[in-house]
Symmetry: C2
Subunit: 446 residues, 2 copies
């Protein structure tokens, strides 16, 4: 077992942080949290071992003693927090980050996104830019994410292999699109289905730590046949599903034109079998009706709230408070490259800022702003829960963690205040170490 010593801070519930100043996270050999506490002796007793004689103080070291003893990884003075989990990101769009924000969604896709994604037909380009993408996610402390790739099988498998090599544990989906797409970036329906099935099978052999996720681009670019086929694959292989929902008002009108017999955008996915219970992520969900909220809640769908993207593409502001009050699961996501930066700390900030702006539209009583602990909880534990027990330091959770070695301070700060400073004004340079399932992860690629 390893005991990580430092100022421990996590958010098991949205309403407040759990803080253990100068405390410990005890992690088992399986990389899962055994317990947290302020006294190592008490921790060991509580975990029914009581063998604190074996305590082995290995200052600044990470080696695990092979015996029954405890290795202490001493990070006194640093914050130890859960890693970030980003439930919506487009890996191939990474090189277009920061382009085209005088446009809204549909023209932006035509002008920047489709030409960028088309280039991933070239495996060398894909390899180069996917390495840069993964390294950047590592730098900013996003240890798990759910990514759209492109429609290209070879490039998507390469992304999964590079992720496997990196030690990060994302979900990756090959994008499916067989209608209303440019002729240089569109699939035949049957080919789309068979190549998806092939990738599921290949990745199970080749990339055991990287899950596959079924990824229809969005309703306008997938035919009913394709949606039905993908739903069947999701069921047959027990894999999750991700897509986009209710992002832009023109997009919603388009879906209504394409499916005039289905009452809402949400129900298109539902009817075609693309909303497996407790296995689905829907990005954006800005313009939900209450009817749609009920369906999303019923299926246990994760909403990936992408406030930076929604501002950039003038899509709208999600009424996050009302969705939370309704009992929906709302995580925070970067949506690279409609979001222009991967840093989840800044997306926490933007989610808070967007919730404050919403307050000015509708009043405090309808849209009370998010607090820091709520937004942090969304970016760690809510997003993490899509991967299992991830995003907290409660017993049984994977030890996915960041060690934050902060800058000097003029004021004396509490751990919560130090976290707030890192979230708002810190950078990846403040992240000293990253652990995934208890394993220290080095910089993946040069």
């Amino acid at each position: 077992m390893i005991a990580y010593k430092g100022d421990i801070l996590y958010a098991p519930t949205p309403d407040r942080f759990t803080v253990i100043e100068n405390g410990y996270v005890l992690v088992g050999d399986d990389g899962k949290v055994v317990a947290t506490g302020g006294s190592l002796e008490a921790l060991l007793e509580a975990t029914s071992r009581g063998d604190s004689d074996g305590v082995d103080v290995a200052d600044q070291s990470c080696t695990t003693d092979e015996t029954d003893s405890i290795t202490i990884v001493d990070r006194t003075g640093s914050l130890i927090i859960p890693g970030f989990n980003d439930l919506h990101v487009h890996a191939p769009q990474y090189p277009q980050a920061g382009l085209g924000f005088d446009y809204e969604l549909l023209p932006w896709l035509e002008k920047y996104t489709f030409p960028t994604e088309a280039k991933y037909a070239d495996i060398d380009i894909a390899d180069h830019w996917y390495r840069r993408f993964i390294t950047h996610m590592w730098q900013v402390g996003t240890l798990r994410f759910s990514a759209f790739a492109t429609l290209h099988n070879e490039a998507t498998l390469r992304l999964m292999q590079l992720c496997q090599e990196s030690g990060l544990k994302p979900l990756i989906g090959k994008v499916n699109m067989d209608r209303n797409s440019p002729n240089y970036l569109v699939e035949d329906t049957d080919d789309s289905l068979s190549s998806t099935e092939q990738l599921i099978q290949q990745s199970r052999k080749l990339t055991p730590d990287i899950g596959f996720i079924i990824t229809p681009r969005f309703v306008p670019s997938t035919t009913p046949e394709l949606m039905v086929g993908l739903g069947e694959l999701a069921q047959r292989y027990d894999v999750p599903v991700q897509s986009h929902l209710d992002e832009n008002r023109n997009e919603i009108d388009w879906v209504r034109e394409l499916h005039p017999d289905i009452p809402t955008y949400t129900e298109v996915y539902e009817q075609y079998g693309l909303m497996p219970n407790n296995r689905t992520i829907m990005a954006h969900c800005i313009w939900l009706t209450d009817r749609e909220r009920a369906i999303l809640k019923d299926h246990g769908v994760w909403l990936a709230h992408c406030p930076q993207s929604n501002m950039n593409l003038t899509s709208g502001i999600m009424p996050v408070r009302r969705n939370l009050d309704y009992g929906l699961k709302v995580s925070i996501a970067s949506d690279i490259a409609a979001g222009h930066e991967p840093n989840m700390n800044r997306h926490i900030v933007t989610a808070i800022e967007a919730s404050k702006m919403k307050t000015f539209e509708t009043g405090y009583e309808h849209d009370r702003p998010l607090s820091l602990s709520e937004a942090f909880h969304m970016a760690t534990k809510v997003g993490g829960s899509f991967f299992g027990k991830v995003g907290s330091f409660e017993p049984g959770y994977d030890f996915d963690a960041l060690v934050i070695a902060e800058d000097e301070s003029l004021l004396e700060l509490s751990p919560e205040e130090r976290l707030e400073r890192f979230i708002y004004a810190g950078s990846s340079r403040d992240i000293a170490e990253r652990y995934v399932s208890g394993r220290l992860i080095d910089k993946p690629f040069a």
Copy 2:
């Protein structure tokens, strides 16, 4: 003369960029732009010299030939853009950046700002943190700014001296506050006035490139006697004025209680002589009435729009489109530390994002979002115009410039797109060089 060669990009008007790909900015020995153009010969002819024989190609060098010849500083492949100008920043608050944003303005001041500013009574603390502040401003390419210091004369003079040493050319104001302030951070009215006058005189001798600006904190913390005295100093010494206006609705109510006989917050400053024509900056101006707009326009006041700060402290969203349509001068500012980062590229982004969010509140016809060129114009030329001919590359403007050496790109990008990418996703690491009035400025402090 020096000819800077590269992809020249600036925004003399809000509606579009002026772009000269692979062109030149010709700069005189006085550090002012002589002309810009695509051909050096044509430029020289146009400037009535015609002596292109003397052209001296000094690749990657910055030395100026002492003769009549032209030195070419070759930055081919890089963008050359005007430096950023930030009309509202609190230099001493730099170390508190990122703290306290679950609070609104007035409790945030009490809990974080006043305790921070009080520490600048210690000159060693002031020296340490002011060096860090100036270096950070240099890093992010903010070459001119208008800063609030604290009420302490010694620390404020030190800030001015460090700025003089750095080569940056800001305006600095000692803060005045003689009421409704904590007992550890409040002045006697006469002392406040005499120490302000003393600083004006000292700085004229000691820091010739750093202007002094009269800086009453805001109406609630300055008595009428102090305001009147400061207005007289502004007139006597012909120095500009800066303060806060219409930021937070509780603050506005407070001003109304303090001055029940004066119809608006704006008129308090006007009546007490703190709105010298074309010499005044007012920060925030979120909740202006049309009556106040008319007064601000009449006095030629610069509005410092601080969208990040306004989001962080839940102050509101300035209706920037309506203020622009009214003919007001609106610049973009960081408001460190209610804004959490000094980077003006990100404040350009936030101003655009805020304007998009405003659109959702009131509709496109009232609050059309800012375009990139508009926001860039505000952060360069509008802010720069407070300092004279600064913020553009039109003839006669000070050559305040940034050389942006960008990262590789997957897509082929125009200069405007490369600028957009830098604004949204770039960082200070992309800024290769900074020039103020034609002088290359090195990193000020280690």
